[in-house]
């Protein structure tokens, strides 16, 4: 398939920590590897920020004034904001870190942490976000293309996906096999599918979008 053009800005790391010196030191550290970072002193402040259309991740102190880090994680999930999270904690205990990781956190680091651990985690998180965004975009493109199919074309390719031969499809639909062939190739063209396998993969993605994105 032809990939949709990727329009993304520079990746951004959002740092949420109530301590200004921790925030600025994190921004400084991230800048040494060329990463852009933005700081927020509370979960609330972050929630008011409009997120850019670019890979991003969140470096979050567990112990925050107001909404705690773990509650904040839950809040983001509830708002369907699927940004990868790296937790920082002053005195993390095991149950807390297990909870955070189960809820999809990328990493759980205890302060003070090794700089490489943080930078690695940030890299993983940004990569994860980039992949997710690509998949979402890809799925959106697929949906648009699929939406452009006629209902007969949709019928035909769903039967193709079910493993039926052109002749069987023609019998079922009460048309000529040659008509089915035309409709099938037109549908493949519209979907930008280069092969039958390609088309089947697309249909699979369309049928179960939750499987494809994380």
């Amino acid at each position: 398939m032809t990939a949709a053009p990727i329009v993304t800005g520079a990746p951004t790391v959002f740092v949420v920590d109530d301590d200004p010196s921790v925030r600025s030191s994190l921004k400084f550290l991230l800048s040494t590897v060329g990463l852009h970072a933005e700081g927020f002193d509370s979960a609330d402040a972050f929630l008011h920020k409009k997120l850019p259309d670019a890979p991003s991740c969140l470096v979050l102190d567990v112990r925050l004034p107001g909404l705690s880090g773990l509650d904040f994680q839950r809040e983001l999930a509830a708002r369907n904001i699927r940004i990868p999270i790296i937790f920082l904690t002053g005195h993390g205990d095991i149950p807390m870190s297990v909870r955070a990781m189960k809820a999809g956190a990328v990493e759980f680091l205890t302060k003070p942490f090794r700089d490489q651990d943080l930078l690695d985690a940030v890299r993983v998180a940004l990569e994860r976000d980039r992949t997710r965004r690509e998949q979402e975009r890809e799925l959106m493109t697929l949906r648009q293309r699929y939406g452009a199919l006629t209902s007969r074309e949709k019928e035909v390719i769903s039967m193709v996906a079910a493993g039926m031969l052109n002749k069987q499809i023609a019998d079922r639909l009460g048309t000529a096999e040659s008509t089915v062939k035309v409709q099938r190739s037109r549908a493949m063209e519209k979907m930008h599918a280069e092969s039958l396998v390609d088309l089947l993969k697309m249909i699979e993605k369309l049928q179960d979008p939750s499987e494809r994105t994380r």
Binding site: S25, R114, D115
Partner: protein
């Protein structure tokens, strides 16, 4: 509702009759005097209130007195010469004429001449009852008759009303009796109310009568009985919300609603029905008992309501309210008996009765369960005795003895030893009663208080532990709250330092950037040390109460406090405590904190140990310089290469540790003029030791 005539009592009526007789007698007496006193006669006749008419032997009126005008409406003069029959209604005239003729011929009277009641006719054609008395007089050989006619229509009316009242009274008393009978029947509530409604139909002219009771939640009226025209209990009237329709309003207002004019009553909703069925009246009464609404009774009737009907209804409402309430109370009692059994089960309370003379003992089912005997086996003193804890047997015997002779109420606690060797704690209260023959009987309740007893014991224990722990844990709490504060600047320092190192490695050296980062590092370093300084200041400032302490005592106390942890982690404790140590001058709580901290550290280290004994050794002795030395050693993993770091704030090898305990412990010991250090134990684990200066002059 109104009444046409005031009721006349029989006594009044009797008085009226006596008066009448007296008047008649007077009149007869006057007649006797007639010949002698014409004037007297004239006076009597003219002033009499009764009509007086004289006729000749032809039946023609010879004379009428002035009262004839008020009684009959004729002028006396206008009647002279007219036949007497003019004063009679048509149907009487023949009878009179034949009777009159017969009398003249035969002397046979066809009516009683004294006080006969007949019907008379007024000039205006109105018939009315009269009481007639007449006499006969012969003058000049001709018979003449004089009659006294008294208008008794008022009296008649009164009599009629009285009779009606008497009838009604009979009816009402029958009604009351029936209600009373219905309510005393041992039927269910519905049956009782059905009989009450039927009585309303039978005796109070109700076309139909209904009774509702208030539902349990007090929101609805539930139809319980319907008698007369309608007897069904379902349909729209079966449940009426309080406050709706006329019945619900009666309930809400708790006032009767009465009408003799259903067609114009705003609360009668189905006027067509009322007209079709000729329903004239409606009466509804709330059933209220001591300010509590119990229900509503109501009836429709094709006859107007009379005062006595209303009296009867209001009586019935009161009686029925009482009846309903009594039924409810009885039901509640039955239920509460069931509850009691359930309550015994839930509360593990058993009850028994004991007839002392015969040793007859009856147990409740729950008591069987508590004693763990099969329900129903005969209970004997021996059987009970077999369960009593051996240590409580003598107490038990004493109580039994006391009960046999005493006859006073008893309360005692004892234990049961069950076949599985478990112990049950029992609390018994027995009340002495005498039956009708004067025989002593005890009614007792026994409660299984084992759980309460055990939880009380546990509570007592934990309470005293808690008091100690709260003092001790303040140390940990303080450490927790400052950990974050210290960690923040340390994190910033590390980040900035690392960033600088990276820039250096990349030869990306911008002096401004480096200067700013280094400036921040210094500022955060200062901030961190300020926090540490605050901790030290806090520890020094703490309320220190130094006293002369025996270290061994403190060690024992701490081992008690840590007892549960030691037990749960299967750690054996070895004590090597030197007797008669010199006392040390120290704050007991701070010393406990340090020791507990060391012991807890060891426990944590030991909890990971498998494959060799988990051993904790507590030692106390005098060291070479004469100080008191305490050593806590364990067979745990030790700390290997990190030995030198253990006293650094925030150093920890434990997943849940704060890393503050050892550094604070060291500060505490140093503030007492002592030292605290760590060393590896042989072959495994660690030894933490501290010294405290001996108090001069104490035994050594």
């Amino acid at each position: 509702m109104q009444r046409d005539t005031p009721p006349i009592s029989p006594a009044e009526l009797e008085a009226a009759n006596v008066g009448l007789r007296r008047e008649n007698a007077a009149r007869e007496h006057a007649e006797g005097d007639l010949g002698t006193s014409e004037e007297k006669y004239r006076l009597l006749v003219d002033t009499a209130s009764d009509a007086i008419v004289s006729i000749d032997d032809q039946g023609s009126i010879m004379f009428a007195n002035p009262a004839i005008a008020t009684v009959f409406g004729y002028d006396p003069a206008e009647l002279t010469g007219k036949p007497l029959t003019l004063l009679m209604p048509e149907h009487m005239r023949k009878l009179h004429e034949s009777g009159f003729t017969r009398y003249l011929a035969t002397g046979q009277r066809h009516i009683n001449w004294q006080g006969t009641e007949l019907t008379a006719l007024r000039k205006n054609g109105e018939e009315f009852p009269v009481e007639i008395s007449f006499g006969e007089l012969t003058r000049d050989g001709r018979k003449m008759f004089t009659g006294f006619l008294r208008d008794i229509s008022k009296r008649k009316q009164a009599e009629k009303a009285l009779r009606a009242a008497m009838d009604e009274r009979t009816r009402i008393s029958a009604f009351r009796e029936e209600i009373g009978v219905a309510l005393s029947h041992q039927e269910d509530l519905r049956g009782i109310l059905r009989n009450c409604a039927a009585a309303m139909v039978r005796h109070l002219d109700a076309a139909f009568a209904r009774i509702w009771t208030l539902s349990g939640d007090g929101r609805e009226l539930e139809l319980q009985a319907s008698a007369g025209m309608y007897t069904h209990l379902d349909g729209p009237h079966s449940r009426i919300p309080v406050g709706q329709h006329k019945i619900g309003l009666i309930a809400q207002e708790r006032k009767p609603h009465l009408t003799n004019d259903t067609q114009n009553d705003p609360r009668v909703s189905d006027k067509d029905w009322a007209r079709r069925e000729k329903m004239v009246s409606f009466a509804g009464y709330p059933l209220v008992l001591e300010d509590r609404l119990v229900g509503v009774l109501a009836m429709f009737s094709q006859k107007p309501l009379t005062e006595s009907t209303l009296d009867a209804l209001s009586f019935a409402a009161e009686m029925i309210a009482q009846g309903v309430e009594r039924r409810r109370a009885e039901e509640a009692l039955r239920r509460s008996e069931a509850f009691l059994a359930e309550g015994q089960r839930l509360g593990q309370i058993g009850s028994y009765s004991w007839r002392v003379a015969t040793d007859t003992i009856e147990w409740s089912n729950e008591l069987y369960r508590i004693y763990e005997f099969e329900i129903g086996v005969p209970v004997t003193p021996e059987l009970i005795r077999s369960r009593v804890h051996p240590q409580d047997l003598s107490l038990y015997e004493k109580m039994v003895e006391k009960a046999r002779i005493g006859g006073e109420d008893l309360e005692w606690q004892f234990r049961l030893l069950m076949p599985d060797h478990s112990i049950k704690y029992m609390h018994a209260v027995a009340q002495a009663t005498r039956d009708q023959n004067g025989q002593l009987e005890y009614i007792a309740v026994i409660q299984d208080v084992t759980e309460r007893r055990l939880s009380e014991e546990a509570l007592d224990k934990s309470r005293s532990e808690l008091a100690q722990m709260s003092k001790l844990t303040s140390l940990g709490e303080m450490a927790a709250s400052i950990a974050h504060e210290v960690n923040q600047p340390l994190t910033a320092v590390t980040n900035n330092g690392n960033a600088c190192l990276r820039l250096l490695a990349n030869h990306n050296l911008e002096p401004d950037v480096l200067r700013r980062a280094l400036g921040e590092i210094v500022a955060d370093g200062t901030r961190a040390s300020a926090v540490i300084a605050r901790i030290r200041a806090f520890i020094k400032k703490g309320p220190v109460e130094k006293s002369a302490l025996d270290v061994n005592e403190v060690i024992q106390e701490v081992l008690v406090l840590a007892g549960r942890e030691l037990y749960e982690n299967q750690i054996s404790v070895e004590r090597q405590l030197t007797a008669s140590l010199p006392l040390v001058s120290a704050d007991r709580v701070q010393l406990q904190q340090v020791l507990l901290n060391l012991v807890m550290n060891s426990i944590e280290a030991l909890s990971a140990v498998t494959g060799r004994p988990r051993l904790l050794r507590m030692q106390s002795r005098i060291d070479e310089s004469g100080d008191v030395l305490v050593a806590v050693s364990d067979s745990g993993a030790g700390f290997g290469s990190e030995m030198d770091r253990v006293f650094t704030p925030f150093f920890t090898t434990k997943a849940n540790g704060m890393g503050m305990g050892l550094s604070i412990s060291r500060s505490l010991i140093e503030s007492h003029g002592g030292r605290l250090w760590a060393a590896p134990n042989s072959p495994h684990g660690a030894v933490f030791s501290f010294t405290l200066p001996a108090t001069p002059g104490s035994p050594s």
